[in-house]
Amino acid sequence: MSLASQTIKGLQTLLQKKEIQPKEIIDSVAEAAAVRDGAIGGYLGLDQELAHRDAEEISGGVLAGIPIGIKDLLNVKGQPCGCASKILSNYIAPYDATSIAKLRASGGVPFGRANMDEFAMGSSNENSSIKPVHNPWDLERIPGGSSGGSAAIVAADEAIAALGSDTGGSIRQPAAFCGCVGLKPTYGRVSRFGLTAFASSLDQIGPLTKTVEDAAILLGAISGGDKNDSTCLDESVPDYVADLQGDIKGMKLGMPKEFFGEGIDPAIRASVEEAAKQFESLGAEIVEVSLPHTEQAVAVYYIIATAEASANLARFDGVRYGYRAPDAENLGEQYAKSRAQGFGNEVKLRILLGTYVLSSGYYDAYYLRAQKLRTLIRQDFTSAFETVDAIIGPVSPIAPFKIGENVSDPLAMYLADIYTISANLAGICGLSLPCGYMTPSDGQRELPIGLQILGAPFDEGKVLKLGHNFEQSTEWHQRRPSLG
């Protein structure tokens, strides 16, 4: 087994015994990327020499010497940070994001820029302005998005682990589609400083890994308060790895009836119901819960997220950084032309939508109403967590579709985010991990199915423990795509 196929945990042991050097891991990841990434497209760039230099400076820590792939919207000092957008094609990050600084403090080496939907806007990674990402399980299909590159490189053993960001499911959904583990932390668990903002009240950075234990290791490394992000809460960071120990007997898990209604693929439904039985056999109790405002979540999300995006992306004006249109005659033209030439279609669509819902005469009808409904969605979860320890359900109602199949119908894509977006609106944490495989009606290849475990704010320890117990009692996480 190559070093690139290893887990963080496995490499920790090998490094501690001095059987391997950090440089060898970096080289193994680079080699795997050289062999496989041409077909997958998960990386936008890999600076092997820089990683070697970074690895030499490590003095210790839980991630000492382990390279971690970085989604292209996190600032790593001196490296490109293009958000897979033409408007930032020449941008070099002037500082480290807090999550990167924490990663380095734990001995981790940021290595590789992971492909993504432009500015994290998308659920299929088809909106990357550089190139699409292909699902390692079936190269004709999407890997999910927006952290599609991060998920694909982990699933294809082209990375040990990766960081992504989740605004409406952008870690959990690609993890589910690629058969790896993805965690969206509680809003305020991980600093957003240095994360290129999409929707500031929804964005969170989190790990994509091969095992739940690795997710616990990586989450522990990047969590904690930050004076540069006042929304990042100064809550103590528990030992998430130690919290994995022990059984889950007597824990109560809720299955929201709204997550199993119309529109879900029967194979996904069956697989998640099977996972619930597995939890029962591990000693957990399964009960039905209700999240009554699930049906409104997609509309609420796409009002709030686009409104925030329209404000956040106003900073791309061709003045301080990024692309500047060469043919503008005055400042107003420079803004409008630079943005027109620099942004891709999905980003433009969302800016237009967000601008409209905030505009005079429509603010109350759309934005304010959505914020009120956000209160109701949040209350749904608060009530549910009064009676259950965690909520389990599917990550996505659909299997990964073929690249190009839905590009002209953005609403159809938005609707498939239904099970993941409410966690961002409520600010709670959520884990995605493999719980089965299916062969879709329009394909021959097996595709992974994701199980979602949602927890109350700052209940990552409980969610990870549930995931770890499930994972270790099943074999789903051991399967790897057959490539080439």
């Binding site: 002037p94 809003y187 009002i303 027109a340 800016i351 109403r369 609403l411 600010g427």
Partner: protein
Amino acid sequence: MSEQGPAFDLSYVANLARLELSEEDVAMFEPQLQGILSYMEKLDAIDVSGIEPTAHANPVLNVTRPDEVCPSLPVEEALRNAPKSANDQFVVPKVVE
């Protein structure tokens, strides 16, 4: 919102967003936005009277820190990504005659 309908002036919104749109852009975005806004009308069915709006999931108020001088990004580095700069400043097209 239904009495206003999802009809809207795309060129007005594009100007607010400082986004130049071509005729092809308008032909593509207009039906897409109409479809999305029609879908959003389903929110009208929910009574939200008396409900407080939520702006942040985990609201924190008045986060303060000591007012101390700290190092910040050096001017040279802050200007490194600028499309055009001179005299330690960003250069833009003339705005006043």
